[in-house]
């Protein structure tokens, strides 16, 4: 097995008396999709936030590309190539889709202490931003404000922004949340096409999507990893069925 891109050991995070994430171990190999599933309140988003740096872990280590990053801030980790998307759509609503993605492009072009020439007239920025929008299929909507497009399109924009950062690892928090069947299918297709160039840690409730995309699945229950393995193993794990998938979801998947 190749060296993991992202390696998490003993990661814990609590809020007061609530242990949201407890002793989580996780390895993400390059060019693979690792899905995290689990019931609501299992700590999936908290886990993702501790990885992205929005929250600092109480203990444990996070090694990304052989660098210990667990004490680095949110922005710093993003600069190193860990890009996250949000469960609740988080884009800059008054700006156009192109301007949104342009900000992401700007962030990989080095510092932004450039005070004079207009950012939106910079052809490097515009071309790369347009590429990212084309990739997710939003190129025809580029000049609309983000507030004017559909929820599904905003989800795609989220992904385009993450992609425009040219990340080494994508942390995706329910990219299909609130999407229709057709939009979800498109998103699954898109994510699987991106696998060659990006490693992904994926939180998702859509089991069809998870089982068709993931190379590895971990089940998070009450902040702990209850099981981890290939999709087939997880599907047949009685422990997992009892804890999370026992309601018949699994049989359909």
């Amino acid at each position: 097995m190749t060296n993991p891109l992202l390696s998490v050991k003993n990661l814990s995070k609590s809020f007061g008396a609530v242990q949201a994430v407890e002793n989580v171990d996780l390895d993400l190999s390059p060019n693979s999709i690792h899905a995290i599933i689990g019931p609501n309140g299992a700590g999936k988003t908290t886990l993702l936030s501790t990885l992205s740096g929005e929250l600092l872990a109480d203990k444990g280590s996070i090694v990304f590309q052989d660098t210990e990053i667990s004490r680095l801030g949110f922005a710093r980790r993003a600069q190193l190539g860990l890009a996250r998307s949000f469960q609740i759509t988080s884009v800059i609503l008054p700006m156009s889709l192109l301007e949104n993605v342009a900000l992401a492009v700007q962030s990989v072009l080095g510092h932004s202490y450039r005070f004079w020439s207009a950012a939106m007239e910079d052809s490097t920025i515009k071309v790369s931003a347009m590429e990212a929008l084309t990739l997710v299929g939003l190129d025809s909507r580029a000049n609309l404000p983000a507030s004017a497009v559909s929820h599904g399109e905003q989800r795609q924009l989220e992904l385009a922004m993450a992609l425009a950062m040219k990340p080494k690892c994508l942390l995706l928090d329910e990219p299909m949340a609130g999407m229709g069947v057709e939009e979800s299918a498109k998103m699954v297709e898109l994510l699987s096409s991106l696998k060659h160039s990006n490693a992904m840690l994926l939180i998702e409730h859509d089991m069809d999507a998870v089982f068709s995309l993931a190379d590895k699945i971990s089940v998070l229950v009450n902040g702990c990893i209850a099981a981890s393995g290939e999709p087939a193993e997880i599907r047949n794990n009685p422990e997992v069925q009892k804890a999370y998938l026992g309601d018949g979801d699994l049989a359909d998947a």
Partner: protein, 318 residues
């Protein structure tokens, strides 16, 4: 530039700027020298409002302590003058240095807070400066300080001449408006504007928003400090009163009235504010009441302030 003057709104602004450029002649023509003073004051406050608009309008950092920089700039003229130092470049350099240092120190702390806390802490810092100057007996304390000679720029400008001073102020204002326009459209400005709407997203993109905001805060502070430098020269009398928190509130009024996050909003707002103040206070001592009602009406019915109003009229005619 031709594209700029295509819309009706742009033409209105072009006329406004032309009038400002011609003002000294018009004032002489109608023999109303008082109005040149009024205009000078308006333009100085416009510079202050333009600088506040950068952090408040474009950056979402609502500071209720911006008038402190007016005071700092004014005292950077007054205190050297008190010791007989009238060199304009030295005073200007001191102004830039002091306002940048004050912005760096107070910004570094204030920008760790958000919303109402930010408003309160910026106000607290400006009140600290206010009371510091009130307590400095040497420089007149509460009573203020008279500046006997304006800043000297030998061989370049003679600010003792009212018209020269007026054009200097106008030039600085136009320069500041142009600078802010360039900055908000630059990469730096995009980060500032993005952070106003969604700081978390900007951090997720890898921007250390705190540092960008701090730099923006310093730029704005220095710009307002320069407005204070001009104010000190203009009034030839400075007192702590000019940095009272109510002055900061007036700057916010002007911006909201004129149109937040618009290039001409601060100038429009300051112009209407001062003229209204001037006329209404001549009619009745209860002018604050009328003023308040007008402001409420404007906020309720003219979305985007005066700039919004002008743009709407403009787009109807185009």
């Amino acid at each position: 530039m031709t594209a700029l003057f295509r819309s009706t709104a742009a033409r209105i602004y072009a006329v406004l700027i032309t009038l400002l450029l011609m003002a000294p002649f018009l004032v002489e023509w109608f023999n109303q020298p008082f109005y040149l003073d009024l205009l000078s004051r308006i333009l100085i406050l416009s510079i202050a409002a333009v600088s506040l608009n950068l952090i408040m309008g474009y950056g979402g950092m609502v500071s209720l302590g911006h008038a402190a920089y007016l005071g700092i700039g004014a005292y950077c003229v007054g205190i050297p003058a008190y010791y007989g130092i009238y060199g304009g470049w030295a005073q200007l350099g001191l102004t830039i240095l002091c306002s940048a240092a004050f912005a760096l120190l107070t910004g570094a702390l204030s920008l760790r807070t958000k919303g109402v806390y930010f408003i309160m802490i910026t106000m607290a810092f400006s009140q600290m400066v206010f009371f510091t100057f009130v307590s400095m007996e040497e420089y007149g304390g509460d009573d203020g300080l008279v500046i006997d000679l304006r800043s000297e720029f030998p061989g370049m400008l003679n600010l003792e001449n009212g018209t020269t001073l007026y054009y200097t102020i106008l030039f600085v204002l136009l320069l500041c408006m142009y600078l802010v326009h360039k900055v908000v459209n630059s990469r730096f400005g995009r980060v500032i504007v993005g952070t106003k709407y969604n700081e978390r997203r900007m951090q997720a993109l890898g921007f250390e928003t705190y540092r960008y905001r701090l730099v923006c805060y310093i730029i704005s502070g220095v710009m307002c400090g320069i407005a204070g430098f001009l104010l000190g020269n203009f009034t030839s009398f400075i007192s702590p009163e000019m940095m009272d928190w109510t002055r900061s509130g007036e700057l916010i009024f002007m911006i909201v009235m004129g149109g937040t996050a618009t290039p001409f909003g601060p100038l429009l707002g300051a112009t209407v504010f001062i003229f209204l103040e001037e006329w209404l206070s001549a009619i009745t001592i209860y002018w604050h009441l009328i003023f308040g009602i007008l402001l409420i009406l404007l906020v309720l019915f003219a979305k985007g302030g005066l700039h919004g109003l002008i743009s709407r009229i403009g787009s109807r005619n185009d």
